[in-house]
């Protein structure tokens, strides 16, 4: 088990190196550099050239890459042009916000999706299953950003049950009960919107796996042992059906972190996704580079997490 995890961790190393290279090359291909447009146009080209030399911008690319990677490894992503502050400081709050949004979305996806999938699979082709399956088709067909707009309009503006922007009400003491409640209140609507659309894949996967598994021979074996139906579902069918969901868990998280971009924008939720869009529009390259690197990192870690979870639930995967 541990051998497998260590081996899997070693495999991520070259992935990380390739990712950082790609991000660096993309960044250096973008027009302009740290000095373009930041300086008084009246300064002589010689002075600029002097600065370039001093900042290492005339070095060969591999030395620049080395400098950049060293900085990144120490948590230094450079300066944001727009906010005039270190990217790391800028991202930290946003990351925390996105983390909570993703967490609450994942929570709702599994808290709602797994029971729906189980019900749908267990009573397949009954009315309840047809209702759930019908919902999943609708969910597949609905783009998340449209759905988010509609929920925002209905529950945010029409009914006024939820705040329509921000991550917390202003004027509250951080750490107080009201502050936490306000945070949760701000998270609920975007979280639910993401979950209600995001869960359809989980529901359909689980349903078809359960329908498949319940006809397997080992289920007949379990019945022949005299196991009651509830036990058959809990011990035999569910565990075997949940494998693809477990395998998908890591990717799900990645998708949430990177995929909440539109939702964060729509709800004016100050997360990484909203920051990403703003930074692209304002050509805040240092921030864009840092975010692309982080999203890539999230994808690699998500895959790693998926593999580890799968190896825990499925003994056949474990590498000797």
């Amino acid at each position: 088990m541990w051998k497998f995890i260590v081996r899997r961790l070693i495999i991520t190393m070259p992935q990380l190196i390739v990712l950082s290279l790609v991000v660096f090359i993309l960044a250096s291909m973008m027009p302009g550099d740290a000095l373009t447009g930041q300086i008084d146009p009246n300064i002589s080209p010689e002075a600029i050239e002097q600065q370039r030399e001093r900042l290492g911008l005339n070095n060969p690319w591999y030395i620049q890459y080395g400098d950049w990677v060293t900085g990144v490894a120490q948590g230094d992503f450079g300066q944001s042009y727009r906010f005039k502050m270190p990217v790391t400081d800028l991202m930290w709050d946003r990351m925390v916000n996105t983390f909570w949004l993703s967490l609450i979305s994942v929570f709702f996806i599994y808290a709602l999706g797994i029971p729906m999938g189980i019900i749908s699979g267990r009573w397949n082709d009954k009315l309840i299953d047809q209702l759930i399956t019908g919902y999943t088709y609708l969910g597949f067909a609905t783009p998340l950003f449209i759905f988010a707009l509609v929920t925002l309009w209905v529950f945010g503006f029409q009914f006024g049950w939820f705040p329509t922007g921000g991550s917390v009400a202003s004027g509250l003491e951080p750490g107080s009960i009201e502050y936490i409640l306000s945070k949760i209140h701000h998270l609920l609507l975007p979280g639910l919107s993401i979950a209600l659309i995001g869960l359809v894949g989980t529901v359909q996967y689980l349903r078809s796996e359960i329908v498949d598994t319940k006809q397997k021979d080992f289920i007949i074996t379990a019945r022949a042992k005299g196991a009651p139906e509830q036990r058959i579902y809990n011990r035999h069918i569910f565990r075997n059906s949940v494998l693809p969901i477990a395998a998908f868990f890591g990717y799900e998280i990645t998708m949430l972190i990177t995929g909440s971009i539109f939702v964060e924008q729509i709800y004016s939720y100050p997360g990484m996704g909203a920051l990403f869009i703003e930074s692209i529009l304002l050509r805040d390259y240092a921030v864009v580079t840092a975010l692309v690197l982080l999203f890539g990192l999230a994808a690699i870690l998500g895959a790693l997490l998926s593999d580890i979870i799968l190896s825990i639930v499925d003994p056949r995967i474990r590498i000797k």
């Binding site: 397997k216 021979d217 080992f218 007949i220 074996t221 379990a222 019945r223 022949a224 042992k225 005299g226 196991a227 009651p228 139906e229 011990r235 035999h236 565990r239 075997n240 639930v313 499925d314 003994p315 056949r316």
Partner: protein
Amino acid sequence: MSKTLLEIKNLTTSFRIGEEYYAAVDDVSLNLQENEVLAIVGESGSGKSATAFSLMGLHNRAKIEGEILFKGRDIANLPTSKMNKIRGNEISMIFQDPLTALNPLMEIGKQIGEVLLLHKKDMSKQERRDYSIELLERVGLPRPERVVDQFPHELSGGMRQRVIIAIAIANKPELLIADEPTTALDVTIQAQILDLMRELKDDLNSGVILITHDLGVVAEMADRVAVMYAGQIVEIADVESLFVNPQHPYTRSLLSSVPATDFAQDRLHVIQGIVPSLKNLPREGCRFKERIPWIEDTAHEEDPQLHEISENHYVRCTCYQHFYFPEESKEEQTNGVTES
């Protein structure tokens, strides 16, 4: 005289296709004594597995009529909660394909332990584990204390079938139903598994219903044989009379379809056609009629019944008296019967 363990009276198992019910097992009556091995043979689709599944109450949406008297108690259509007390306990089953019959995500020990957990509530976890190891040893698995913590994919087909047998005998069942227990195994392993089953049967003094289409297995194991065709029993006899003196055209066709090792036969007999599907079963007259078209219609009974032609030897329909293989001429046929 041994006691009657199981008495099946007029068992009919029907499945719904569209709006109508079709009987896959049609009016089957059988009985089984303690420590007796009854083989049920027939082609695929003849209803032999459906009969076994009816006994275990494993059919999901089937209509079961008739009586299944197990130790005098009717267990047909027993509610699942009551049936669950019997299954895996007093009646247990060995399955055809050991590669798929075990849960791939559960340790062997837990899969054996489950049947103990369900029926022997007072056993502790440690006792279940110890007894599982004992059972694995009993069914001839090497290093049982290692196997108990392994997963099915780590074992070979023959070993897995031994595990399934261990599960089946865990609660010392009085009736063991083996549904093609050796079909998926290598020939060398088949013999070992059959030896093991016979040994266990004698140990436990239990009755065995052996479902198979392998006549070699029948000759090896069975005391009595019931031949099924299209949901009905067409012939039932002691194993010796059936092999020495087969009567029903279907039985004779089956027996002559088996390759002999003495090369005396240069061509194997092939039964014409296929077993009709459930929906297209002929419900009137002799069901085997279509597959022996060279026999005159008058040879068949209108409503074929089982006839006792000698002690404990029953044959359905009168066509057996007129049957001959198309390869032989009609005259040869009469000699053929008297010879055997």
